[in-house]
């Protein structure tokens, strides 16, 4: 491995390393928070942190941050459609 190669590797590894650090910290927070007695907010906290981790992965590892609009659209449309199920499905379960 030439020094020039090594420099280039370090250059491309910088951003993912920071993201990994963030992910591990968030993971630790999630694990730790789940042992705190927050009542129903345990679930909220767990899901919010999980969502933040997924956002990090999607934006930086999956590089949505530099993707074109159509790729971003395709990425969120599935989540949107899942929300439709949740909203209308729970319209039944919450009022039954």
């Amino acid at each position: 491995m030439t020094p020039e190669e090594r420099h280039r590797i370090i250059a491309i590894a910088r951003a993912p390393s920071l993201v990994l650090l963030g992910l591990v910290l968030l993971f630790g927070a999630n694990l730790g928070l789940s042992f705190a007695a927050l009542g129903r907010f345990n679930l909220v906290a767990n899901l919010l942190i999980a969502a933040a981790m997924v956002a990090l992965i999607a934006l930086f590892f999956m590089e949505l941050i530099r993707s074109s609009a159509i790729h971003r659209l395709a990425a969120v449309v599935g989540i949107f459609w899942l929300m439709f199920f949740f909203v209308l499905g729970f319209a039944d379960y919450l009022t039954r």
Partner: protein
């Protein structure tokens, strides 16, 4: 007609490499078909497969209708009866209607209509067909082994605990076929995004392409939910784990929610392509630009999206909350609006046209009649108190057959006749085709209209034996089914005949616009000898300032520029 056919003759006499070198002659061995990545050949492979399934499903229903001539359960046993209507439902929904227009005409025409060489992922396209075949083998295996009796809806806990049929193989067949339609949808969307020829802007796409786009979106967003639902049901049945089992805390209505989250949008997978076909054909035979192009596009997008919000109207009596009933009823009225607008726009397209009545147009008029009728009875079923009375009766059976058979299948036959010359390079016998179209319309109404009446009188669906006062309607319905069967068999005969004896069609026998008519019939392997460039909106059947003229000179002028 004379000027058109004269033109066609002239073309066929012109020496041209098109006469020998086309996608059909591009390899003549069976192997060349089985490993083809040509979207046109894959379309043909689908067409052959779904034809087989259409007749399997039709035979199952023929036996059922014969049985129902008398109120007593005399022709087949209860169990066989249940397996027959289940077979009819599963085969017709997943192995005929869902792939019917998209996988055959969509595959064949979509790249041609946007001026592309092929779809975005040709090998994935072939994989889709093989997945379809594997799913089909599971289903056929299930039939041979003894069948399944859950109804196509697979409701738990009957399917997961009580049925003695081969539920898991049947579900596996549907599961695998589901991935075939997911991959097809994914392929189409990518194709439309990536492979439009220069000048083919989004709002210059023919409406059939928009129909394929919206259909594909529904396919890729709805089908995976069905796959998981069937997987969960099968896991409960096979491993005995509690998922929908009410005795162990589960909720059978959750299965219904998940199932209809797919299966209601599935109706739009069937009807959106039909709408696309009808838009192509109405404009062509009325020689008129489509009325309200952009509204037609927005309506299809609207149907595709709002179609996901209405699934609960299948569950008004199932035990969901009254509030949910209200919400889903409301959304069902909302989704009726874009469909109605489309019907008005097709009607308005005829205004100031130069209408001729070839068979594709007759099929489309049939579509318009039956779809409108089915849609209006859909309003009845979206009304909660009426649905309470009518759901699970023959009224519902009649309603969805008006949409799915009267609508989608009529449009399928319209598309078949419209594009047959393009696909095969041959003309069929127009007189026979018109006769078949008219016969199909009357056979259909005779079969299904009586079902509205007996449904309102309370005849429940999926009944092997019934009260004698319903007999007259069943007899009428069976008689209609016989007519309908004949009308379905006829095209098989004259279309096959045309393959040998039909006149050569020439590139554009209908004088239609659209890029698919700008290449030879049948098209060459790579679709276009020179890549086309688009300079105008679709359906240039007449100039902006004048109506269509009698001689079709407008279209010839327009094609000079396209």
């Amino acid at each position: 007609m004379s000027d058109i056919t004269a033109g066609a003759y002239e073309y066929s006499r012109t020496p041209s490499i098109g006469a020998v070198d086309n996608y059909l002659t591009h390899g003549r061995t069976l192997r060349s078909w089985l490993v083809t990545t040509d979207h046109k050949r894959i379309g043909i492979l689908y067409a052959l497969s779904i034809t087989v399934f259409f007749f399997i499903g039709a035979i199952a229903m023929a036996i059922v209708r014969l049985d129902l001539i008398t109120p007593a359960p005399d022709l087949v046993s209860d169990d066989t009866y249940n397996k027959l209507f289940t077979l009819h439902g599963i085969v017709m929904v997943w192995f005929f209607l869902i792939p019917s227009i998209p996988a055959t005409f969509g595959n064949f025409m979509l790249p041609l209509m946007i001026g592309a060489k092929d779809v975005a992922f040709p090998r994935l396209n072939l994989t889709s067909w093989y997945l379809f075949v594997i799913g089909a083998l599971f289903t056929i295996g299930c039939i041979v082994a003894g069948g399944v009796d859950t109804g196509w809806t697979f409701y738990t806990p009957y399917s997961s605990q009580y049925s003695h049929g081969f539920v898991i193989p049947a579900a596996a067949g549907v599961f695998i076929t589901g991935f075939s339609s997911i991959l097809t949808g994914l392929n189409f969307i990518t194709t439309i995004h990536s492979l439009r020829t220069p000048g083919m802007h989004w709002f210059r796409l023919p409406l059939f392409v928009w129909a394929m786009y919206t259909t594909s979106a529904v396919m890729i967003l709805a089908t995976p939910v069905l796959a998981m639902t069937l997987l969960l049901m099968s896991a409960e049945r096979f491993f005995g784990i509690p998922i929908f089992d009410p005795a162990r805390g589960g909720d059978p209505l959750l299965f219904q929610h998940l199932f209809w989250f797919y299966s209601h949008p599935a109706v739009y997978i069937m009807i959106l392509p039909a709408m696309g076909v009808v838009s192509e054909i109405f404009t062509c035979y009325a020689r008129r630009r489509i009325f309200g192009y952009s509204f037609m596009v927005y309506c299809m997008v609207g149907i595709a999206v709002v179609g996901f919000f209405v699934w609960g109207h299948h569950m008004f009596v199932a035990g969901q909350s009254p509030f949910a009933n209200l919400v889903f009823s409301f959304m069902s009225f909302v989704v009726a609006v874009p469909s109605a607008i489309k019907v008005f726009n097709w009607t308005a397209t005829l205004y100031r046209g130069q209408i001729t009545f070839e068979s594709p147009f007759l099929y489309c008029l049939g579509f318009l009649w039956l779809f409108t009728f089915g849609g209006l009875t859909g309003l009845v079923l979206a009304t909660v108190p009426l649905d309470v009375h009518l759901t699970d009766t023959y009224f519902v059976v009649a309603h969805f057959h008006y949409i799915m058979v009267g609508g989608s299948v009529s449009a399928f036959f319209a598309a078949l006749h419209y594009w047959w010359p393009k696909i095969t390079g041959r003309m069929y016998d127009e007189a026979w085709a018109r006769f078949a179209a008219i016969l199909m319309f009357f056979g259909f109404n005779l079969t299904f209209f009586p079902q509205f009446i007996m449904g309102y009188a309370g005849m429940p669906r999926r009944y092997h034996a019934y009260a004698p006062e319903f007999q007259i309607f069943h007899v009428l319905s069976t008689a209609g089914a016989a007519v309908l069967g004949a009308a379905y068999a006829l095209p098989a005969l004259y279309l096959l005949w045309s393959l040998r004896r039909g006149e050569r069609a020439g590139p554009n026998p209908w004088c239609a616009t659209g890029l698919e008519w700008q290449t030879e019939s049948p098209p060459p392997r790579d679709n276009f000898r020179t890549p086309p460039v688009v300079v105008a909106a679709p359906y240039q059947y007449h100039s902006e300032t004048h109506g269509p003229d009698y001689q079709h000179r407008d279209i010839e002028r327009a094609q000079g520029t396209v």
